[in-house]
Amino acid sequence: MQQTINLHDRDELIAPLYQFDRKFWTTLVVLIVIIAPGMLLYARQLVLGLGVTDLNRPVFWGAYLVNFIFLIGIAMAGTVISAVLQLLKVNWRRPITRIAESLTVFGLMTAGLQIIMDMGRPDRLVFTLLYGRLQAPLLWDIASLTLYLLTAIFALYLQLIPDIALLRDTSPASAPLWRKKLYSILSLGWTGAKEQWRRLEKAITVVSVFIIPIGISLHTVTSWLFSTTVQPGWKSTILGPYFVVGAIFSGIGLLFIATTFARQYNKHLKEYITESFYTNLGWIFIVMSAVWFYFTLNETLVVVTEQETLEFPVMASKLFGEFAPAFWGMIILMIAATWILVAPKFVSDKPTRNPLFQTATGLVATAISIVIFFLLWLRLPALAAPAIQSILIFAFIVLFIFALLGVTKWMKTRIITSTVIASAFVLFGMWLERWNILLPTLTHARLIPYTTYNPTITEIAVTISTFGILTLMFVVFYKFFPSISIWEVEEGRALEADSTH
């Protein structure tokens, strides 16, 4: 039985898969240029040793581990969100499940890469299988990561089967033979028979149920790498749920960015991924930000109030010390992101002459507040007097509020742009959060003098290259498979048609 497809879908979703136009090649070249320096510097690190980084004693872990936790986080969210929405039978999930699930797979792959890059002896990776100690938290993490990766690939593939069959049956005559063969093998003889659909849907439900605990376990276990040690700042019971919440938070952020990137790349997708998706997922985003603030307050307030001799110096370095720019930068980014998400929902559409709500006010206030933030960061001796510091902080807070109010009207009319800005803030803020969890503890060792950590060019280039690889996988994958789950969208349309009759 031949698969049939709505002609409209074919033109807009399948045809672009065969167009290797200039845009595609340019993207590819740009990405390779971004990736190459990091890879070359990593090769140098392999030859010379980890000494080419700024890692030292006691800062044995650095940017690579921060990237690892961050990537695990964004990876965790994709499939978990998709699975939860699937089980709840939420209809607006349909156009984004594919992108969410693929982000998980690519995120986990790049996260695994970070661990290998961080190892002193990557050639001995296989030892973790040969001599693995099941009592060691790192082995739990490896086991959990492998299990989640396999399950995520399986989930992605299950959802892909009907679409691969479509590709097999509807590919244009000009399509290269190897692609036709590839689709025909991967479609596993899918014909769209009733029994096949029944089994597929059952399998998807089962996988969705299983993948949620696996995903949550992965990020909890990653937090246990830290919270099972006896180091101040880490030995906390809140770290597990805090990591999971942060993971979902940043995962939604990346999902927004990836979807918008796909929409911009293939303009036809705008019909499938509509503004309502941004509004709906936006609500979950707001809830996650509230939970995140709740956990952050918990973690900070308890330590600040008890002022225990070991824990407090670590916290103090975040609040007032060398990690203050990263900590307060994170808080400011998160407040701004939450405001960008929440404010448009409460502001009226009517134009106003109130100068507070003018975009110009917002931009001027933002510019000045950024200058003040850097002035505070630089700790100039001329501005060291407590009175001046207080005035600067007060001015910053006032201007920050002005900035938030000023951009509200502008955002109201641009839901997608403002969601992407908020997502970028959240992603950067969450990266800083991982930094703020990992490094203050490491630099404040108990029997080693306090030190600092400034990533070298190697770590910076490798980090950039990692995110380049993530994007590259995304771009290449969606040259072979449709970025929208065609059959799910079709099913959604059918359900809608049913309900209207």
Binding site: G49, L50, D54, R57, P58, M119, R133, L138
Partner: protein, 242 residues
């Protein structure tokens, strides 16, 4: 069963750093450039440093100065945090209570270095180097059982190393006794730092033998453990000053 233990009398310690140097030559720890050392990459299995490390503003200026020195080998914890986190059993505690490090097994994940509350573990950031003739005077001893590599053996890049209570000396002493056809006595073996100690501040022996010096000293009212709240049950004992 023997339970090896070191006791350090801080009252007698003159902070000459002789132990640190003896350890360096016994265990082939490479010296690093001053720049690298400033970056926190120096390797001193037995380190000597001032306490308190993080001086409060009202303690650092004359006449409000109060400085102690402490010498710090590995604590060979009974509940070692490093052993618990090693994913491949590159570090392990033997039945005599010594925490070993196998350079041929270590994957360089540095979890043990992060988990150790005492900071006794060191990582080989680069390939170890010796200046000119110094390399000729390296200790040829090494411990290698079933493909493992321990003790003073020259470490490859990217693995972790640490104080082993000079475990190769224990093996040597045992072999010697065997060759001479007699029983091994616990007082036949001391680590290099104990042997060299200028102020005779270090003692080493069997904690299970109630008559040994370390057993006697461990009953002293001055006997303390470092960071007892870490829950690691460190074994190396200190006799506090004053």
């Amino acid at each position: 069963m023997t339970d090896w233990c070191m006791v350090i009398d801080l009252e007698k310690c003159v902070a000459c750093q002789g132990c640190s140097i003896a350890c360096r030559f016994e265990n082939n720890t490479p010296a690093v450039s001053p720049q690298e050392s400033k970056n926190g990459r120096a390797i001193r299995w037995n380190d000597v440093f001032p306490l308190p490390l993080h001086i409060a503003p009202d303690q650092g200026e004359y006449p409000n100065v109060k400085t102690h020195y402490i010498t710090r080998p590995c604590m060979h914890c009974k509940n070692a945090p490093c052993v618990k986190v090693c994913p491949v059993q590159a570090t392990f505690t033997d039945e005599e209570g010594i925490v070993h490090q196998n350079y041929n097994r270590c994957i360089g994940c540095r979890f043990c270095t992060v988990a150790c509350p005492y900071g006794v573990r060191y990582f080989n950031w680069f390939e170890p180097k010796w200046e000119e003739t110094l390399a000729e005077y390296r200790n040829p001893d090494q411990l290698s059982v079933n493909g493992s590599l321990e003790g003073p053996a020259v470490r490859p890049t990217g693995v972790v190393e640490k104080c082993t209570y000079c475990v190769h000396r224990l093996v040597k002493a045992r072999e010697q006794a065997k060759v001479e056809g007699r029983d091994f006595r616990p007082d036949e073996y001391v680590p290099a730092c104990v042997q060299t100690c200028t102020g005779k501040a270090r003692f080493f022996g069997d904690l299970d033998d109630p008559d040994s010096t370390v057993s006697q000293l461990s009953k002293s009212l001055r006997a303390i453990h470092l960071l007892e709240d870490s829950g690691a049950h460190p074994k190396t004992l200190y006799l506090a000053e004053g």
